[in-house]
Every structure is written in structure tokens, then in C-alpha cells.
Point group: D2
């Protein structure tokens, strides 16, 4: 699908000639519009109807080595408990006016829990997940099921399920929360309820009940045969993700089609009851670039947040470029071209709002031929 | 589904005790957050996670007898053509900072075309429709198919289809445009392309080709057997809508279940290839209240815009109440209770963003037992 | 999709060399198989796994002028009532061993009701419909809703709905019943229940309640928003079918794509809640050939029954050819090529088992280039 | 859902009074029907429309210790190769007239391959799978991907994929094939093509490429994002099935809902791209009964074949009862009540035609409260 060159519409949006001449009668009409709470299309169309998406969000990188110390200081100064609910510190995209929005639809925050602390139980319509770039020791209790959190694990926690966290070790733990808070805030669909101040159980099993029921490839318990909007599997363990990626690269080396592009392995986390995305508004994936790999530029409707899980590389989003390393987080606004490159190899966790656009038939993706 | 009483969380959002004490160290931490483009959850949660949706939009009524004269004056002062594209004047919800947004997701505007005028051809990803409360004489040409517009007709025009309008009569015509412009603006999925400055055809048939192919109840042409995201039927004529509503009330009178509630008939405009909504982001319905009918209060996630098509009545949205008559437009923000009442009978066109919430599993509706 | 030439496998199926030599040991093994209720694949594969479907059913034509008199004589000799349930006389395909099966999956029968007679109320899991080639005067009462039957009407009546018929005129009436009796008999899914001996109501309205609720193009009552497995519309009236076909031919004449092939108009009867087939196992269509039209040969997995509604023509199915006229019924077995031709014009009603194959991913269609 | 008592309709079907008296005129009419290839409903209705399904198939048990020796003798006497294609010996239900049909829809056979033998490559529209009750050493090569077969493995192989087998060990191997051959034979949808006489590859990897791509719980390769009608996972290994069942029983013991009924664990093999059945016409499950467990009687539309994988128990189907042990196969015809009981524990593989009925909205299941 080709997209028109932006320039003519840029002119539309900016060139005064394009607007009717400001006669006294017109000025009076415009004043009339104001008093009647009306706004004409012809003065707004350039902003409202650009030739391609113009994101207010900007590409931006947050360094883990700046983020983590902030969370640690918050751990010393800010209690966690009822009311504030979570010791979570959100990425605020510089293009979005200081709101805690990584992109117009996505929330990304670092959450921090000290030894012995509880994050109280609540539920909300926002879809959430946790991703662990390092550390362990916290259990998130979802509808009474304790789920261990460890490096590399992806832990979805869909809307309107009760959940709280507790740290039963003697070390603090930090992780990343991803949610659709900005989206639900914009479209005004948010519900929230308090639960108990403490988690229902302090059990610390290595595997949650949901994993024991659902964590077997292609097997479904006969007790749960209906599709559910969100995944019933509460933990996607690193051991499986790592193996799936390693085997894609091995299959490629053996001459079989298994990777997205040469040297680029990727898996999507899915809902085993449908084969689709883990949650109705959030897509989550893990990408692995083999050493000396560069991806082709890619543009997509909707926004993404990436976190570097391992390795180092160069990331280019639109006109921005960064060298990245473990824990660094960056955002890709709607329709901004993304390129990834690495010498030593690069592992990346990604989440995005793509399911929103696919379900509403607004999704578009565009690949450029090859990196120039 | 019961929803928690808002007060505790209101406290969360406002009560200073609920926040950590503002020590110098904390102030310094907050400054650090700012410089690192971070925002804590605990200072924002009251706004971001209310117990039930708190719409920034407010209930508001626009009177047709104020709106139409504005459009007529614009018809004299403002040319229609390339660049501005349409002589459309949008409702700007007083709660939304002067933007041309009737609600956070929906655009509603009056469009006006003088005798002999063309609205130039373009296409965009926004889903659009026209509804005609009075007058006729304009043909909208969609992908080359000329569609007559007449009082009571609903004319969907889904995203990314070429369309322009022309008025070949000697009288001006005004109608209502509905689109998902604010939604696509917020989520940044907008594409736009220019077409020819004049419509492809000046034919003025009474029935469009789409009606001749698709306008037969329960019959589908064998040339088009795949489901399409939006309806292929480009005109839903008043004659059918009126009859469907009249028959629901007649069936009710004969003792059969056919109405939503006593005296309240309603139809939804649907896509004949799926039986679902006419467009992926927009729901359109027509409601008829028999004389001396009052509806039960109803709350729904997502927002609606209503236009009075005929009759008079009393409308209550949240704490607002109005007496309404032909052409008046009002908005119902997310989760605000709506009640309709009439003595002489009331016909209402409604459109909403409900498909967004249903497709993303965020939809909720709540009926109160009866008006207290 | 190309299909392999049958000959090699024909050899497999018939050539004795292809079978292991009949040594005494082998004979003994085969006797052992028999006593253990076992059958080897290698002796059966030619019949069980042909290169393309080999239908046991054969192409056959039943002449209306022979069928109708039989029904009239049955009307004089055979009472209709509880036990026998219906005065229905079924087509028995000569290839199917004298069973009342038009094809291996489809039942087609002529039903006949005298003035004043009732066909008693019952329900069954079989999906049924009636199609009227001539006459009127009978009402079929479905779940208490009286549905008039008239020439050209298609009247679906999905599985497990109560139904009976009554003739309140002073003239007898005959029509065609179509059901999936053979299919459900083969797969053993049949349930049946008796209802009252007389229909619940003797009302004779021109339009059923279902038409008044559902018979408006693209409009859906808000009281019924969930998809249903079968259509809620109980009558597809000739007036609409005729107009839809006429307009397809008119659009073709105006240079627009609207017909299946030149001069060949066709509509499918659909379920307005899904846009799909009227019933889970039965497809129903109406085809109109303009004068001097011939269709390209067409092969399809699954079987069809056609009834000539009007006009005359030549029908070729496999190696069979017939001249046909009003009321004549013929069957098209699975994968047998069908060609239709007419000089004066030909209207055909068709029903088939295609939804079974589409839902089970077994459907295939093949068009040959053009009629030789 | 309650089902009517069968007796009244049994009477309908058998009581001569129920038929019109055999006058000479009626006899003549019946002769007329015959000559015109017609059959009346009223003489057939008892057989065609019973109150509940009356399967022609009967409950039957095949003993593994009789079946396996037959296969071994066939291994000595019957070559495997082009034409016969497979050394497969099918269960012939005594109720189905000697055809190789385990039930009216399902094929079940023991297949046997000697050391060094190849079963030649072909493809067919029938959906197939293999299940291994004992032994190993054969690789089935599906579209060029070699898949090891070992005890406890379920190996689906959906319609129209190329496949052959080879035994590269020095021991023979036997296993069970399940297919929908009878169903596709009845509905006449069968296509078949020959491939090479030898498998494309003699590689003998422990894990197939499909497992390396798809065998990771909840993870999907980004190279394959579209749903497919049948599972892309070609091996469901015993290690996972065994663990899933063990954990259901462990969760039950811990007081959580995880089993179908007390002591009865069960998993369904599913298509990871949809969460649904592995193939469009075939359901496959594995059931484990803990020691001293008895199941409640269960009736279901459609038929099943079970194979005992391990343990011993008592099986009751309708009026038949058997003591069963490893390898024994038994069939459950449509709507026949099934009860399973064990003292020492019982592992059962099951396959059925349930997807056919679910997709066609003909499925019914009935549980009796408890065994009387």
C-alpha cells in the first residue's frame, strides 16, 4: 500500500492562502461559531486529517542506569499501600505534555517492591502485564493464584482480575509494568475496585496453578473449553521463550523458513484459547537479533515500547538513533520507521497497541525494501 | 454488574493525607523524576483510575435553530473546495478544550452545500456517515456510485473509500456528518488522500447501484460472498426504517415482544455481510418513543450523539435536562445516565462508539430498575 | 486448484495385479480378519480413496407433470396426521438403493395438503425449508408465528423449532420440502418431538411476525442482537428475489459487475444475523439466466437439488442432458460438472449441502474455462 | 436438555395401524411411486426421524492381543507399497455391514511397518492422525518434515498434506491410525494424489521442525500469524500429556477445580493457532482416571473410539460391558451412554467426530446425575 507524499497536505495545513480571506463578516461568523460551541473543519483539517499519522509522541530513550536508581530512591522515601496502590514510576513521553504516557495509548513504568512489602489487592479494567529484566523474589497473586516473577518472564494480567504483589525475600525487586492506561483514559472506559490490603496467600510456589493447567504445548484442560478474551496462562517463562528463539535461528541456519528476516527471530505471546494476542488491547513479543544483523526499516500504525533484555545494539526511530544496552526502554510512535542493528547480538522485549488497530480494521504495516 | 461507590477513590484522588509527606528528599526525588521524564503513579492514580468512567466531555445540547443559520451564513461567506475540502461545522464539546470533538471519540458536524457546488473527492481512514434531518438534492458519490440523500436517510461511508458530493438542484442542502475523527486522532491512525476536484459522475439516480445490489432483505449477490469490515449498502432509506419501527410498536400492541421496553422501538443499522455494526468503530441506530413514553435510565461505556428527527420530548443526561425538538443534537458522555421521555412521540437518530468497546471487551451497560 | 487425472487410481482400484497374490496363507489371514471384524485398507482403497469424489448418487430428473399427479392421488388416498406426520413424497435417487434420498445428504419431497387439513405440530433437529413453485393457501406455523406460503417464496424452518401447516382455503396446495434428513441420518444426530395435533393458531396474516421484525434491508431489531445459527426471517418473498435478480441483469446491461457470469444473475438467501447461509447445513440460492445464455461448466464438492421455477432450458449434469420446464427437479451429485443453457430465459431455485463442506474445510469448486 | 421418551415414536415406527390401509388403490399408488423413483415419508419416518439417535453402529471391543498378532502376520504376508499404500487393518463395526468403519464417521486401524520399509508418499483430503500405544522407530514425514513416533505420542496429520512413513530401525512397529474416511466417503468429498514412492528424507531427528517452531507453550512464531484450519504442530509428546494430567489430579488434591469430575483428569489436543480442535472433523483427547474412580454416565451426539493406553478398568457402553487393558480399542456409538471405572487407575486415548456436530450446531451432550 503506497502512502501519499505529505507535502501538499502540509501546505493545506499551514498556507494562509488556503483559508478564506478574513473579512469582517467572516470574523463575525467565527465569533458566532465560538459562542455556539462550533468549530469549522476547514481551519482544522491539516491537523485532524494528515496524509499519514503524525504522532504527538516523540521517539525517546530511557536509560536503565538512570531509571533504576530513581526507583531505589523512591523505595526509601515512598511507602507503598492503599491509595497510591503501587510504587510505580511511569515513562512520560516528552511530546505528551508531561502526562505519564509512554505513547498516546500505552503506559510503561518501573515498579519497585522492598523486602516484606505488599502491594495491596485491587482490580481495574485496564489490561496489564509485568516483564522482568532482572532479579526475582516477588510473587504476584492473581485471583488467589501466586505467580513467581523471575528474569525473562512475561506475566500478563488481564483487566478486571484481582491482583496484588508481595516480596517475601530479603532483597528488593524492580520490574516493568505495561498497561493500556492512556488508551482507556482517552476513551473513558475505566473501572476500578479495591480489594484486601494484603494478598490472599503468601505461598511461594515455583509454578502457578495457571501454568500447571495451561502451560503444556497444545493441550487444553477439559474444564476450560470456551475461548476467553485474555489468556488464562499467567506466566510465560524465559526458558521457553529463549528456546523458541534459539530454535528459529537454528532452523534458519539449517535452511528452513523460521525467522522474520535473516538473523531476526521473533515470537508473539498468545492466548492459548484463541491463538490471538494475550489481551484485547496489548500485543507482546520477544525479538532476538543474531550477531551482525540489521533489520529492514518498518513502519506500523500504532505505537510500541521496547526494552533491551540482553546484548547491545543501535536503534533508529525516525530521525533518532541510540546505542542501547540491558534494561534501556525506548518508544516507537505511530508510523515512525524503526531499524534495529547489532554486532554482538540483541534480545528485545516489545509490547504494542496493535490489537486495537487490527480489531478495528485500522492496522497498516509498511516495509521499506532494504536498509540503505 | 454492580459498580463500586465512587467516594473512597474520590478521597484517594483529593485527600493530601493520602500522599507521602513532602520532605526535602521527596521534593528532590520529584525534581529528579521531572528531569528524567518520569511521573509516579501515586500522584496520578485518582485521575487515571477512577472507580467508574469520569468523562471530560459534558452533556450538551446544540439547537438546530441556532446551528442551521450558522451553516447558511457559512454558505454565503466560505467557499467549498480543495484544501478545506468540506463546508462542515463541528460540535465542540465544552469539556474538551475547544477542539471540534462532540465527545472524546466522535465528530458531529453540520455540512452545507449550495446549488451547483461540488465537495471535492478524497478518501481517509476515518469512518464516516451522513444523516439527513431535512431537505434533499445532494448526491454523494462513493467510489463512483451516486447516492441520493433525502430526509430520514442514513448514508454510511466507510474508511478509505473515495467520495465527494454535488448539489445539482437549485436549493441548498444541509445534513449531519458523523465520523470517528477524534478517536483516530487520539490513537494516531489517520491516512488521507486527495482525489479529483470534481465528482466522477453527475448522474442523479433515485437508487444507487449499492442499493440495487444489496437493498433486498436477506438476499446476497453471488458476486460478493466474503464478509467486509464495513457495510456495502450505501443508503438505508427512511421508508424502511419508518416501517420497521412502526411494526415493532404494532407487534407490541398485539402482545408480542418486539420493543426494547414498553413504547420504545429501536433498530440498528447493520452490515448485511456480517449482521454486525455498519462500520468497525461506529454504531448507528434509530429510536422511536410512542406518545406518553419514558425510558428507564441507562448507563453505557462510551459516548453517543443523538439528533431529534421528529416530535418533541424531554432528555436527561446526568444532571442536565432539556426539552428537545426537530434537529436538536445532544451528546451523552461515557457512563452518564440517559433518560428519554415524550408526550407526543419522539423519533431519534443515534450514533455511538460502542463497537470500539465491544471489540476490545471493554463494553459495559447498566440499567437502573426504574426511574426513581 | 488442479485435480489429478483419475486413470492411475482407477487402475489401482481395479487391477488385480495390484493386490498381493492369493496364497493359502493370505486366504487364512483374510479369514482371520473376518472373524476378528477387521478389514484391510489395501483391498478397499480404490473405493474409499478415489482421486476425486465418485458419487453413488446419479444425475436424475423428476418431471413435475409426473410428480404432481402422484401427490394429488396421495391426497385422495392417504390421510395426513399424527404418526405419518406429513403427506410428503420424496425423490429417491436411483443410485442410492431405493432410500428416499435425493443425494447422500439432501432430502427433497413434494408435500400436499387438502383444503381444511392440518399437518400436526412437531419439531426435529433436521433443518428444513419449503419452496413454492405454484399455488398458495397454506400457512406454516413456526413457533406460533403463521407464515403464508405463495408462489416463489422461500420459507426456511431451522432445526428444533415447532412447526405445523394448515390449509384454510378451498383448494389443495403442493410445494417442495428440502431437508438435511439423509445427512443427519448418516451421522446419527436426529432428535424428534411431537407437538399438538393441530396448529396453535388459524390466523392467516399476509406477513408473519418474523417478516415484520426482520424483513427490512440492513435493519436489526434491538431486541435481537446476538447471532443465531439459523435465520430468524421465516419468509423470503418472491417480490424481493425477483427484483434483486432483475437489477443484477440491469446493472450488467449498464456495464457494472453484478452477475456471476454474462447473463447469469444469482442471489443467496442469507441469515441477517450473520450474513451467512440460512441454516448450518443447507444453502439456498435462486439463479436467473437471461435469454440465450449458457453457463460455464462448474464442479463442486457436495450435492445440489434444482427446481425449475420458470422458463425452459437445457441442463447437462455429467453425461446426462435434459430439456427442462416449470417444476422439474434435478440433482447434481458431488463433483459432477453442471452446465445450464436457455433460449427464452430460465429461473431456477437451488439448494445444496455446501455449508457442511465450507465449515469443515472440505469445500472445493472448479470452473472449466468456457463452454465448448 | 431433556429428551422425550422413545416409546411413542417406536410405536409410530412399528404399529401397522399407524399406516393407511393397504387398499388396491393404495398398492397401485405405491407401485407408481416406485416406477417414478419416489418414496413416501409416512412409511419411513420411524427410521428417519427417531426421538433420539439410533446408531446402526454397535458398541464393540477389539482386544489388542488379538489385533497385534494379525498385524504381525500381515507384516509377513503382505507387502507395503504403491497402490495398497499402507499396511493398515481397520476395525469393522459389526453393525455397519462389514465395511471398514469403526463408526459411521470414523476409521480406526492398526498400521504395521517392518524394518527398512517405506509407506509411500501420498496426500488425501481425509484428516488423519497416528497414536502410539507401544514401540517406536518409525518416522512419519509430513511435507518433508520427519516426525519421530514414540509411545504415548499423538501425531496429527491434516488433510491434503503430503506424508509417508519409514522404519529405519531393525524392529517392526505398529500404531493406530485414526481418520474421517467413513464420513468423507458418505458425504463424497474425497480427493487423493500420489507422491514419490519413497519418503523425501531419511533424517531421524528426535524433534520435528514443526515442534521446534510450535512446541513452546503460548508462543507463536512471527512467521506464522494466520489461523490455520488444522494444527501446524505435528507431534504432541507423551511427556507433556502425562504431566498435564498428573498436575490436574494434583491440583484437585490441593482443593482446586482442575478435573472434569472427581478423579477424572482430561486434556484436549488443540490447534495452537485457534485454541480449537486439532482438525476440522476430528477431536482428540486423553483421559486419566485415578485409582478407584468411576465416571458418571454420559451421552453425546456423535461417535468416539477409545484406546486403553495403560492400566485396567471396566467400560460400559449402552448395554455392553467389558474389562479392558492396554491396547484394547472400543467404540461408543452416537447417544449411547458411556461409563468408565477403574480400581488401579486407567489411561485412555479418545478420538471423536464432535467437531462436525459443533460446527453444524447439531451437538448435544447429556450427563445423568450419578450412576444408578
Amino acid at each position: 500500500m503506497t502512502v501519499t507524499d505529505g507535502s501538499p497536505v502540509t501546505i493545506v495545513a499551514t498556507d494562509a492562502d488556503d483559508q478564506p480571506r478574513r473579512t469582517p463578516e467572516l470574523e463575525e461568523l467565527y465569533r458566532g461559531f465560538e459562542s455556539e460551541l462550533l468549530v469549522p473543519l476547514w481551519t482544522e483539517i491539516g491537523d485532524l486529517m494528515p496524509p499519514t499519522p503524525r504522532s504527538k509522541a516523540v521517539p525517546h530513550l530511557w536509560r536503565w542506569d538512570r531509571l533504576l536508581p530513581m526507583a531505589e530512591r523512591a523505595g526509601r522515601l515512598v511507602p507503598v499501600g492503599r491509595g497510591g496502590e503501587r510504587r510505580a514510576i511511569a515513562l512520560a513521553n516528552p511530546g505528551l505534555g508531561g502526562r505519564p504516557f509512554a505513547t498516546p495509548t500505552l503506559w510503561a513504568a518501573i515498579q519497585y517492591l522492598n523486602p516484606g512489602e505488599d502491594a495491596p489487592v485491587h482490580r481495574h479494567t485496564q489490561n496489564a502485564f509485568r516483564f522482568v529484566v532482572e532479579g526475582e523474589g516477588v510473587w504476584t497473586v492473581v485471583d488467589g493464584d501466586p505467580v513467581a516473577m523471575r528474569r525473562g518472564d512475561f506475566l500478563p494480567q488481564a483487566g478486571w482480575h484481582w491482583h496484588g504483589h508481595h516480596n517475601d525475600t530479603d532483597a528488593p525487586m524492580a520490574w516493568i509494568d505495561g498497561l493500556d492506561i492512556p488508551f482507556q483514559h482517552l476513551v473513558e472506559s475505566t473501572f476500578f475496585e479495591f480489594g484486601p490490603d494484603e494478598v490472599e496467600t503468601r505461598e511461594t510456589p515455583q509454578r502457578s496453578r495457571s501454568e500447571r493447567l495451561w502451560g503444556h504445548p497444545g493441550l487444553r484442560p477439559l474444564t476450560h473449553l470456551e475461548p476467553t478474551p485474555a489468556t488464562p496462562l499467567l506466566a510465560y517463562r524465559w526458558e521457553y521463550t529463549d528456546r523458541a528463539l534459539a530454535e528459529q535461528l537454528a532452523l534458519e541456519a539449517e535452511g528452513h523458513r523460521a525467522t522474520v528476516e535473516p538473523g531476526h527471530a521473533a515470537v508473539r505471546y498468545t492466548n492459548p484459547t484463541t491463538g490471538g494476542d494475550v489481551m484485547p488491547t496489548v500485543r507482546a513479543e520477544f525479538h532476538r537479533l543474531a550477531p551482525d544483523t540489521a533489520t529492514a526499516p518498518r513502519q506500523e500504525v500504532g505505537s510500541s515500547v521496547f526494552q533491551v533484555f540482553d546484548g547491545t545494539g543501535q536503534v533508529t526511530v525516525g530521525r533518532q538513533s541510540w546505542s542501547v544496552q540491558r534494561g534501556d526502554l525506548f518508544v516507537v510512535p505511530s508510523w515512525q520507521p524503526l531499524t534495529l542493528a547489532t554486532e554482538g547480538g540483541l534480545d528485545l522485549f516489545r509490547f504494542s497497541d496493535a490489537p486495537i488497530f487490527e480489531r478495528l480494521h485500522q492496522h497498516r504495516v509498511q516495509y521499506k525494501e532494504t536498509a540503505q
